[in-house]
Symmetry: D2
Subunit: 359 residues, 4 copies
């Protein structure tokens, strides 16, 4: 079944059939949200451990379980597959799904490597199928508003982005804290940056003070194409939870504190202004005019809407209309590009590593 069939017939024939593959940490959230969205009909929860899948569904569900991905892919009622298995298996599962003609949603990161991710993107493009990355945070009302503010020019030219995502986190066996947490910040960055502001290079510093075998604390510095800077602090060892992103602009600066439900986004009309270069002569450079704005702060009202619900609806919309979703495969690839460069930088003690062409 190709995309066109869905485009032509999707609405007419009712909700899209969907299967969730993977009943671990994230799968249950997808199960819940696909069930709550009437544009989808959840048909399968698939896990190698079928008993786990059953437990996730609970004792009152009519949804089918299976341990056999083939059974899911053979079901003609399944239009789309959501992959929530470990990152190392994303390539195989998603590729099989695409080859079976299914639209695919993949939990972040898109794949274990940039090369793997690229194979998925190309496969989906060749087949005209939707490939979407579940960059959940991009669908929060907060990020939606931030995106509007940045792209609408409300902040002015971007000066810096500073993101902190720290918590006493689950130390992973196979991936370090960068690969675990930074995809959130990088995918957010990907959707809020204007076209002309692109990451060009990255440096990463990290430490593994507990001997876990991979970095548990890491700092990522991104050079942006305009000379602006973005910085990400991720940390599994922090006893307190912090999820704050500051986006500094020439006109305004916003602070997003995701743990402050009453005031998630605050936009400050405060900042430092410089007389424009043409206004001051070369010799007066040292005495340039600096002025400070100290205006009001506005905390815009935000809807309280579960991000996953919006994500699931974006998936339905992308499948139905054929347009790329906000967080399409290419977006997932750009995140993988930065993650791989950051890993190289970590290995080279913080050396600056350039990103692939196209950013």
């Amino acid at each position: 079944m190709g995309q066109n069939d869905v485009q032509d017939n999707g609405r007419a024939r009712g909700p899209l059939g969907v299967a969730v593959v993977g009943a671990g940490y994230w799968g249950p959230n997808l199960v819940r949200n696909f069930q709550a969205c009437d544009r989808f009909r959840l048909r399968w929860l698939c896990d190698l451990d079928e008993a786990r899948a059953r437990r996730v569904l609970g004792g009152y569900s009519t949804v089918q379980t299976t341990a056999d991905l083939g059974e899911v892919l053979a079901d003609p009622e399944v239009d789309a597959v959501a992959v929530a298995t470990p990152a190392g298996t994303h390539l195989d599962v998603a590729l099989a799904a695409l080859r079976a003609g299914k639209h695919v949603l993949v939990e972040k990161p898109l794949a274990a490597t940039y090369a793997d991710g690229l194979r998925l993107v190309e496969e989906a493009e060749q087949r005209g199928l939707t490939l979407m990355c579940d960059h959940t945070y991009c669908y929060t009302p907060a990020v939606g508003r931030i995106r509007e503010l940045v792209l609408g020019g409300e902040l002015g030219e971007l000066h810096y982005v500073d993101s902190v995502r720290i918590n006493l986190g689950l130390v992973q066996k196979d991936i370090d804290v960068l690969w675990d947490l930074a995809p959130h910040d990088l995918s957010i960055l990907d959707v809020i940056l204007p076209e002309h502001v692109r990451p060009v290079a990255v440096a990463a510093h990290g430490a593994d003070p507990i001997g876990a075998g991979q970095a548990c604390v890491a700092y990522l510095t991104l050079q942006l194409s305009t000379g602006a800077i973005a910085h990400v602090h991720v940390n599994w060892l922090s006893p307190t939870k912090v999820r704050t992103t500051m986006v500094g602009g020439a006109k305004r600066t916003l602070v997003w504190d995701d743990l402050n439900p009453g005031q998630r986004v605050a936009v400050f009309d405060r900042g430092v202004d410089l007389a424009a270069p043409q206004e001051i002569g070369a010799e007066e450079r040292r005495d340039m005019l600096i002025s400070y704005r100290s205006g009001d702060m506005v905390a815009p009202a935000l809807a309280e809407r579960e991000a996953l619900r919006s994500m699931v609806e974006e998936f339905a919309e992308a499948i139905t209309t054929g347009r790329p979703p906000l967080t399409d495969g290419r977006s997932g690839l750009r995140v993988l590009d930065i993650l791989e460069a950051a890993s190289r930088s970590l290995a080279y003690h913080g050396a600056v590593v350039g990103l692939r062409t196209g950013h």
Copy 2:
């Protein structure tokens, strides 16, 4: 007048005569605190702009003013000189004071360069005079308690230090945000780190998005001799003020939020534990035992005492007893060493720069 004279006679002959040089931003604070401390008698406030000095003293003061440093240094009643002039003049003023036999307190940074600072340290040592750096934060009750907790082993082996000092700050003409703000964090680090944990290298990333001519946003990563990591974020462009330092240890982690007067220091018995290497075989490495502590948090009661008052008393005590103050010239030098290395790293786009021997 040498140190021994003071040691022998200081107490007998009453308070130490002191002069403050520099009536700009910081000088008034020194004036107020020397006046409030009965171990000192403030005799002079010296500034090239004598009218400014008079304004600082106000219309009800018996303290003398002068624009002539020579007059101050010639006064035999002056035992000590506090230098609060721009950093570029620290060498000249402090050197003249030392050569006149005065004990010297210097506002941070100790000098404009490591080499200058070293000249001051050596001059003071040769003359047996007290040379102290006004690293004010080191004298807050919070840092005092943090020092006790770290050095007393309450946190266990140090894992990481993360310090954020951001604010809509005064953009300086001559120094960047690193030299303006990071001395606070670095001097704190200098007094709380145990002997065996020393900074060995530094990388710095920065940006000047407003075209001020120097970095207005900067990130500093310090490699510590044990493999631990310290990171400092300083920023002049942030619309909100943050002054938070996290000190992560194997046993406990503390968070110091200097803007939360009711709970400045919080000590968390939360963290990630790993089974010790000897307890697990090589092949089980991948399945190593990770456990999570999620214990109580204790916010110790702290005295509410002005740091500058304690600093001034430490100066008196060091002069009187001849012992080095907590933040002596050597401490100021170590901070300069890191700042210079950080500046080199900034110039080299984040390259890691080793610190001088001795750290």
Copy 3:
């Protein structure tokens, strides 16, 4: 079916059959939690609007719906009924369920009046059935810990309780803000107060500034039997959400901030001490010795467990063992007693109204 049957046979024959009556605001939460608890088997969701009941269950559920309470009560597999209908109907629904031999859980308040509540309590007692009030907050880990601290004497003799529960709330048509929100605070008070500290009288002040027809802002002052005071502020018009309870004791004082997930409960070793009466003579009364403690604060680690889950388990345990649940019908009655007295006080412009005997 009487209680003894359950006690004897309950465990053997598997989970308790339960029905939820009412699919409005609160019913869905009960549905979710009964489904998640393996000591229950949810058999019915009953609502006069059966379509609403179906919507609550969603399109994947095997649970039956009905609009006919009689059908539910006639089902011999139903051991217990949870009533989540409007307060005015609690008496009829719960009484019918008790008369059908079912154990009953009632959403707060227990009934629309004290007299109605008493009928339910007596009916349940005569039949040996469990009657429980869903005072959900009493089952939060925070209240559990507060109860331990107070009853364990950690705070010393109680001095005052101050509770604030304000929010931009749903203005109700039939009940005022006191009856809507204060049951939470009063039920919490009921479980944390030691036996010898009982509310004896209440005064209430309120206002209806928007002309809603009933109080939208209200303050409740409770005199406790020991001379201590409890105060509750409830407000539907506040633009910010506050849910804070302070429990002051002779030895320690605790602050519960339910909106601060990282530090819900904080126990302060701070306070004012007076020399004990026997230590000071009558004439020195005016010069009595007051001393201030300014010790540490401890924020105990709390489990993150959904209160409703614990509530549901308490219901199962009470049914199975025959012991009264923590928030039994009598507890619900005591809350109704205070609410009715408060309503009288409101009507009499704040006059103090005594509570019924037995407190």
Copy 4:
């Protein structure tokens, strides 16, 4: 010396001579601020314990001290007297000063009783002298802005005011917590309420759980002439410091958190709206249309200016121009009226007590 003399000659002859009487808790703050204001020349610090006065001035001051109030009042260079002695002595000291022709500033409360206060007001009015009450909070930038917002109609008709001022406070021997802390809230209320909204009655509830001899915890409910309500919670026993005032209006609601320097005042465009009475028929009352606004929040930029400095300047301005200061004697009287009524209510177990005519 009468007011007219000052009006005519004040500016010409230089700053106003002022004396501070009382070198206890508050006096030093007045000393500091009169010295910093060039419209005053501080001539005397007077205290029965002259050594205490000397200590307050420190060892570098040219200001004179005396233990003899007569000496101060006899000094023709003294135009104004600031009274910072215990409340019980305000009448005698202020009356003597007024009779000596001096303008008078009195620390809050204006006097120990309403009757005493009235004598001061009348004495000053007869003599054409400025009588001002140091209601310091009324001069904070926050209260200034709140006053503008309320009086400018930005909030719409006032619905409620809720003020919390709690702290581990100094338990006083002679006055209870109401007289100690509530004057702050009541004086703020006095300056922010529009003319047509006046307190008409008060009820107070309190407790003395530590046996201090007077209430240490108290709640005050004010009925306002429009049906709105104001409530004040003052508490000496709270381990945490809270200073929050909420002002609810028909159009907007503001929250002032004096301990949040970065966001002291927040104005919320959130609230509950009702269809206006004329729009709905009598029978539809029960189904009236309630709608909820959930708009943005704006935190206006506020100057960071010490309130006492502005208060001192208001005193100078009132003396010089002859206009009544913002917090004149009448304002102090209105506060005393409420305090006395509240004391009676406390004594009568919370009975509602009407205020004197004129409110």
